[in-house]
Symmetry: C2
Subunit: 327 residues, 2 copies
């Protein structure tokens, strides 16, 4: 079909084909997928439904000439799924709102859908429905529907003075990759290892479930905008403060030495988990979960202030400096 | 707060305030609303979950200088809820993805949220979560989560030869209003009765539920893109055709005489229900439901073709001519 004649129906057909394999596998919970007015999903007994949505916009969240379409497809789903992981839940299905210029409805769309499909399969989150329209730029909004056993969901609220602050994985790695991508004049391959976390973040679903079900986490959220911004949100919701040891932060290896700490504190898009554990429970918590490091980075305080303790013992206010699209 | 310092957090706070009243009322089913990583919703026993999402974009779906912000807020939710109504379901909660230029984060946003809040209350569909970011234009994507008793949901598939084709309400009224708005040089008041259906469509929730629960509808969908486009979709899904009597179509009173039929056939955004009823069941179906007319407009045929029968008996192919953003 020539692109000139490509209309909404045929784009929806393309998207539908990309979700077919999944619909079979998820036949039990996803009763009706794409192609009708709405999708039908059968909830699991004894579970609550988790709902979240996330923007992914050309120019704001990705650059059409820098980011492979495949990565755009992967990442738009992964980052929304990360919110489900942050509650301790399991993703079930997604809704894709996609607007794109007609010239991208060919190869770009195919690669985008390939990335999305791979993410759907890896994260076990079937594409249940969507809406497409024409746009001057690529606009993506993804909603994810997840489930969590009743009473198990972890929130930002719940951290108490004395609780230990943990993060999973390394901090600032996605940001370091983004800086390499932005500044590079050469075309970066989508398989470049330095860009892996920026292009293809993996939300910590199994870890989030485990922390919630075992009752380790008193509060939890995912790191999307950067530690300084997100820790401020967790502390705000919990009405507490925190002291962070800069020497304990699990820094990215790929960042330049002088930038490592800054990227760990303020770099966005790591999609690691930030969580707090009551002190008496920390003995039972190992330093890793299935190969992912779990690092103690500080302590929750009664005083509602974020403090960064430097290696030399000097204390300073941790100023919020993460990503904010309006700043 | 000065607009220059307005950031994502404060916009989310505004949106959160707009949803507070609802969170109380819906406390039982909406366990956790805005402000955390995701929302938590408790599904009703014996029900399936309905999922749908809809774009509402400045320039494509509304004009910033023609449409009152209040109408944009109402309509972006109402049109997504209409997909739930079309399955015979009940809306429960929504997710709002909103991008907007900083200059609209003041009064425009307040009026938008007032319209959205009014729609949420009227349609009994609480705002459960959202995501905001900066955009050069206003971008809106709304996801709606609904419920329907197990096995009750109506689909586009299911119409059989001999079934009678019905529509609710009048056809082409929203399109007629849109033409008045587009062509008018004078500022149109948001209370102008001719624009009521274009500015503030009311999805047929109670009718859809009733048709599904009483088992009248063999197939059903909502009219969003125009009868010719949507009937083609229903017939395609059901692998049937249809004959429509042009003299039976419930025309809009506000359209110019010469345009009435065209608008009824191809005008979009009426958000009325299109449904089919097995012939033997039609005797039990009155000509109205709670004041909304239910009009027989034709018959489902085995031959997979859409035929329009003119008043003089002349038959012609009903060419698909409704809204398609890619055409």
């Amino acid at each position: 079909m020539s692109l000139r004649h490509l209309n909404e129906e045929s784009i929806l057909q393309k998207i539908k084909r990309a979700s077919t394999f999944e619909a079979k596998k998820h036949g039990k919970s996803l009763k009706l997928g794409m192609g009708d007015d709405a999708a039908l999903f059968v909830p699991t007994k004894g579970h609550e439904i988790i709902l979240t949505c996330d923007w992914f916009l050309e120019g704001t969240h990705f650059l059409i000439d820098k980011h492979p379409a495949d990565s755009v497809g992967w990442k738009c789903l992964a980052r929304a799924v990360s919110d489900v992981a942050a509650m301790g839940g399991t993703p079930r299905c997604s809704l894709l709102s996609l607007a794109l210029p007609e010239k991208l409805a060919g190869r770009w769309l195919d690669e985008f859908l390939a990335g999305l499909r791979r993410a759907s399969r890896n994260l076990d989150c079937v594409l249940a429905g969507g809406d497409t329209t024409k746009g001057e730029r690529v606009l993506i909004s993804v909603s994810v529907i997840g489930e969590v056993k009743t009473q198990i969901a972890r929130r930002r609220r719940g951290a108490r003075p004395g609780d230990v602050v943990y993060v999973s994985g390394k901090l600032g790695e996605a940001e370091a990759g983004w800086q390499i991508l932005k500044s590079g004049s050469k075309k970066i391959k989508r398989t470049d290892k330095r860009l892996r976390k920026h292009f293809y973040p993996v939300p910590r679903i199994a870890l989030g479930q485990w922390l919630a079900e075992k009752g380790f986490a008193s509060s939890m959220m995912d790191l999307s905008d950067g530690l300084s911004s997100d820790l401020a949100r967790l502390c705000g919701a919990s009405a507490v403060g925190a002291r962070i040891d800069s020497s304990k932060l699990p820094l990215s290896r790929i960042a330049a030495e002088s930038m490592k700490l800054k990227m760990a504190l303020h770099g966005g898009e790591d999609y690691e988990l930030l969580f707090t554990v009551p002190k008496r429970r920390t003995k039972k918590l190992a330093g890793a979960f299935r190969g992912t490091a779990l690092t103690r980075i500080g302590t929750i305080t009664q005083k509602r202030q974020l403090i960064l303790v430097r290696e030399n013992g000097h204390e300073e206010e941790l100023v919020v400096g993460g990503w904010d699209p309006f700043r």
